[in-house]
Amino acid sequence: MADIVFSALLYMGIFVILSISLNLINGFTGMFSLGHAAFFGIGAYAAALYMNAVEPVLYSPAYWTHLCIGIALAMLAAGVAGLAIGVPCLRLTGDYLAIATLAFGEIVRIFLQSFRQDVFGGPRGLTLAVDKLDSHWAFLVVLAAIALVTIVVRNIKSSAAGRAFLAIRENEIAAQVMGMNASFLKVEAFVIGSALAGLAGALFAYSRCLIAPKDFGLMCTIMVLLMIVLGGLGSITGAILGAVVLGLIDPLVRYLPEIFAAMTGGEEDVAVLLMAKENPQIIYALLLIVLIRLRPEGIFGTRELSDLFRRGERAPS
């Protein structure tokens, strides 16, 4: 039982990191990237391949070292991929950037599915040669990672670079007029965001026995997008909140018929709820459409939790 709870929490945590990383690109810098799941996947595969090559014994001191190295490798791989994808996309804006990143994401997924199937495992996926972490340990690692990522991104946001990102989001040309190197900054944001996604990918790989290309497709990106839209584009707290809320909705939707039956005490299966259980993506799609129309700024907008506690005047960024 505890295993299930920790598993759910740890996946929620991984998506928290993913949300924060995508928020850096979409929310802070205003670059609409639809290929984020690709970096998640690259990080996962990098970490998995490294672990398969080294094959440490679970929980030995060497294991933890290799875990850290694997994470570093994953971040490097994802960051380099971010560089490779970010540089060509520099001049693109809005719709075109969205489609280009979508295309890149798909290319990566196709590659992971088809290239060197002896190495990458093909469409079935890559099995890890190392046992996966027990869910409570994995959860602790993820928690530590979340804390680190939040601190780092928060520092970025209040740094000069972070303010530059926000300026680019508001009006790129004005930012350039003010002397900011928009191209460099955009690539910088992209690389940092993708490296963090790689971190999430590594953690994802360590907590599972198998990673498959279909986990890293468009649906994954859309889920993460939904999380940051829900929480508020441009807000770290929002990203965390969005990931948590959606992480809670997911099992809820799956068990909705049972819950409903338990609540009403009836034996009847409500057809609508059964349909929803079969196809939870319908709920997410509807949620996205309704949410983006009714409250495009999400729950937190661009504010942070700490803004609520501030006294005195401070313009939220």
């Binding site: 609409f32 280009a100 798909e106 290319i107």
Partner: protein, 315 residues
């Protein structure tokens, strides 16, 4: 040499399919600057509508007159049904967010696309279906037609599938029709005006809402037709619109989004490129990636597309 020409022919045929779908994308983008991700789903719905009509008992007839009627009805209904869905989507999902941020429009479009895909999965079951006649009865006109559709012609030693020729022909007709419509008719003028400046068009007395709705209808209709034509050739399943929709969008961008000849050109380019790549010994598993690679190249070096005009952003 012969294989190369054969590949080129195949590429043109496949490309004309993308072209038909791309036309819808480019029309809609030209008018309201929206990438309608759900366009692939209009294609899919056309395939299903045709399927259902041809599954009725009336279709399993031996009378060629009756069959011709049913077939025409199926074609018409698939186009009409798809355009109906397109208009409904515009009315329900896109009109309320007109004027909002681009990100809102894009996310809504993605949401609608996913919604339609999953609704189709729910309604039609994810199992792939085909247009084949159950029991394979030779006396039924329908199987005769399908046989002809799948058969190959052999002019000059080349292999040409009848289906692909038909699609090419219909795509050509579609191009001619749309081009004439946009360039030579009053309605086309209204479309061009709306796309240039919505407010001004309204001030000039053009009912922009109607123009936009009808544009959606046109684009959706042709996509539905393309869906049925492809569905007859291959299988029909709820996700069938995803890849072709994406590739058709790439085609529209490559040719110059907003330009009708551009959409067709883009479609042909993508079709040719895919087939040539496989011919040049690319593993067919990577075939899908070719379209995206071309997209990236075009966006890097000529973002306006081959026939497009890049608008400079003014401050």
């Amino acid at each position: 040499m012969r294989e190369l020409l054969q590949t080129i022919l195949d590429g043109l045929a496949e490309g004309s399919l993308y072209a038909m779908i791309a036309l819808g994308y480019t029309l809609v983008y030209g008018i309201i600057k929206l990438i309608n991700f759900a366009h692939g789903e209009f294609y899919m719905i056309g395939a299903y509508i045709g399927l259902f009509i041809l599954a009725t008992p009336a279709a399993a007839t031996s009378s060629s007159w009756l069959f011709a009627l049913v077939l025409a009805l199926a074609f018409g209904a698939s186009a009409f049904g798809a355009s109906l869905l397109a208009v409904a989507t515009e009315r329900i999902a896109y009109r309320p967010i007109r004027g909002y941020d681009r990100i809102v429009a894009l996310l809504t479009a993605i949401g609608v696309s996913f919604l339609l895909q999953n609704l189709a999965r729910l309604a039609f079951s994810p199992n792939p279906r085909s247009y084949a006649v159950p029991g394979n009865r030779p006396d039924v006109c329908w199987s005769a037609f399908l046989q002809w559709y799948h058969a190959y012609l052999h002019p000059l030693g080349f292999e040409l599938q009848n289906a692909k020729l038909l699609i090419l022909a219909i795509a050509a007709v579609t191009l001619a029709f749309l081009y004439t419509l946009v360039m030579r008719t009053r309605f086309g003028k209204a479309m061009r005006a709306t796309s240039q400046d919505l407010e001004m068009a309204k001030l000039m007395g053009i009912d922009t809402d109607a123009v936009i709705a009808r544009t959606f209808a046109l684009g959706g209709g042709f996509a539905g037709l393309a869906g049925m034509l492809t569905g007859m050739l291959r299988i029909v399943e709820p996700m069938m619109g995803f890849m072709p929709g994406l590739k058709a969008f790439v085609a529209a961008v490559v040719g110059g989004i907003g330009s009708i000849p551009g959409a067709v050109l883009g479609g042909l380019v993508i079709g040719l490129a895919e087939n040539l790549a496989v011919f040049a010994n690319l593993d067919s598993a990577y075939k899908d990636a070719v379209a995206f690679a071309i997209l990236v190249l075009i966006l890097m070096f000529r973002p306006g597309g081959i026939l497009g005009v890049l608008r400079r952003e003014k401050v």
